[in-house]
Amino acid sequence: MRRRALLRVGNRFLRNPNGLPRLPHPLPIDMARVAQWFHAASDTTRLGMLEFLSQRERCVSELQKILGVPQSSASFHLKVLMESGLVRQRREGRWKYYSLRGETLEYMIAFTRIVSPGEHAGTCPLSCCQ
């Protein structure tokens, strides 16, 4: 069963965004997309990449050197990160540079806020939600 529930952003979140940019209401994302973001960050090598990219953009050889992984592995992990929308690629001459997409990280933070206990992010067919 595929549930495509749009996340309802709680009023409290909209009023008190804690420095986050104003997000569209409701968040235009489905649960599969949310799972894809978190899946991209659920591997220690990819977490290492996110940390090293958090300062500035890097090329694949830098990431390889720092993390001590073969190029095929680095490319695979970068592909997963790009497909999830966490990382973007920029080509300069023969080099490709990778950088973090801050807006996806904002969405991940927003997700953890709107599912905080008491917020009720979505809708369900239970009587409490009607």
Binding site: M1, R2, R3, A5, L7, M31, A32, V34, A35, F38, H39, A41, S42, D43, T44, L47, G48, L50, E51, F52, L53, S54, Q55, R56, E62, K65, I66, S99, L100, G102, L105, E106, M108, I109, T112, R113, I114, V115, S116, P117, G118, E119, H120, A121, G122, C124, P125, L126, C128, C129
Partner: protein, 110 residues
Amino acid sequence: MTSAITARPDAPRVARWFHALADEARVNIVEMLSHKERCVCELERVLGIAQSRLSFHLRVLKEAGLIADRKEGRWMFYGLQREMLDQIAAYTKSVKPGKHAGSCAVACCD
């Protein structure tokens, strides 16, 4: 810089938090628990997942510390752990562009 490293949660632990939310069914469970704690029967009915599968997903979420269970009579109730959601948000915030969350062996960080 050393203190900054020790203060950070270790990577396998962080990976486990994110892994808990890396499945659509588990994201749906978290979304349902955001209102209030629920029993397995409610989750099963709303999400349409077989109980064996549901138990597996609940175990993954519980092992990552995202949910806690409470027994009431013959029913088990599951509730979200706000502190864990806050920790995930704090970690995600720390890797936002321009932050440089970790330390590394490249020249710019020496």
